[in-house]
């Protein structure tokens, strides 16, 4: 748990065209960490949705801004940090997209999917410098031997 992680860091221009770049990177990171195909897809989706939040909602689609990704591969988990230059959001105020009233709404499922697919999800406001989301996916022993 306390050993030094293997780290991959990337800075991307805040542009939706970079979504697929981020996906390609996270696929390779997840593969390196030893996740199976299904977990890889879940992690990829979580990063995809977080990138959309960072680019679209955080940085307001302003391509002069940046999104920072940091992947930390530990023996027992993958920790992903995604930071934008936005003002952030209150995770407790995100409505439940599965409730009857929201089921047919067009948007509002991104955070729900991230929470479903990852073992931990936190949002940290960084006063004056942006917002960071931290996501953790644990590496099960069965996955490690794969």
């Amino acid at each position: 748990m306390t050993s030094e992680p293997s780290v991959v860091e990337v800075t991307l221009e805040s542009d939706l065209k970079n979504l697929e770049v981020a996906e390609e990177i996270v696929r390779r990171v997840a593969e390196t960490a030893g996740f199976g195909e299904e977990s890889e897809h879940q992690i990829e989706m979580a990063v995809h949705e977080s990138m959309i939040n960072a680019i679209w909602h955080g940085n307001k689609n302003d391509s002069s801004k940046r999104v920072w990704l940091r992947f930390e591969i530990y023996k027992d988990r993958l920790e992903i940090h995604i930071r934008d230059q936005g003002i952030g959001f209150d995770i407790d105020e995100v409505p439940d997209p599965c409730s009857e009233n929201n089921l047919l709404k067009v948007s509002g499922r991104g955070i729900f999917l991230i929470r479903t697919f990852m073992d931990e999800f936190r949002v940290k406001r960084l006063p004056g410098s942006g917002t960071e989301v931290i996501m953790v996916k644990r590496i099960e022993p069965a996955q490690q031997s794969k």
Partner: protein
């Protein structure tokens, strides 16, 4: 890979074979315009064949919901055909599996559309 859609008519149903990515941006916009065009032409029985959809995100799911609502609001029917495991799982997780009429056999899907 962006989204591609091929439209064919089977009996009174418009079947849309979709491949690629239904994601925020181009994929979602294409799907929205396609549904709008079909409704404008009076085609209100639409079957979306998702067999070759490689990736769908939360915006893509939202676009499917939007298409479903738009068609239903005009008195039509929109159904889904041949979900991949990934899309199937996403619709289950988001509790939309029970909202859509989902088929895995095209002939049966076509015959399930109500005749006007």
């Amino acid at each position: 890979m962006s989204m591609k859609a091929t439209i064919r008519q089977v009996d009174s149903v418009v079947v849309v074979d979709i491949s690629g990515r239904i994601t925020l941006g181009e994929g979602c916009t294409q799907l929205r315009e396609l549904i709008r065009d079909q409704l404008a032409k009076g085609n209100k029985r639409i079957l979306l064949n998702l067999a070759d959809v490689s990736y769908i995100d939360s915006s893509g799911i939202g676009e499917l919901v939007s298409a479903y609502t738009a068609v239903s609001n005009q008195g039509g029917q929109l159904k889904l055909l041949n979900l991949t495991k990934k899309v199937h799982d996403l619709l289950q997780i988001t509790k939309l599996y029970t909202v859509f009429d989902i088929h895995d056999d095209e002939a049966k899907a076509i015959s399930s559309f109500q005749k006007a």
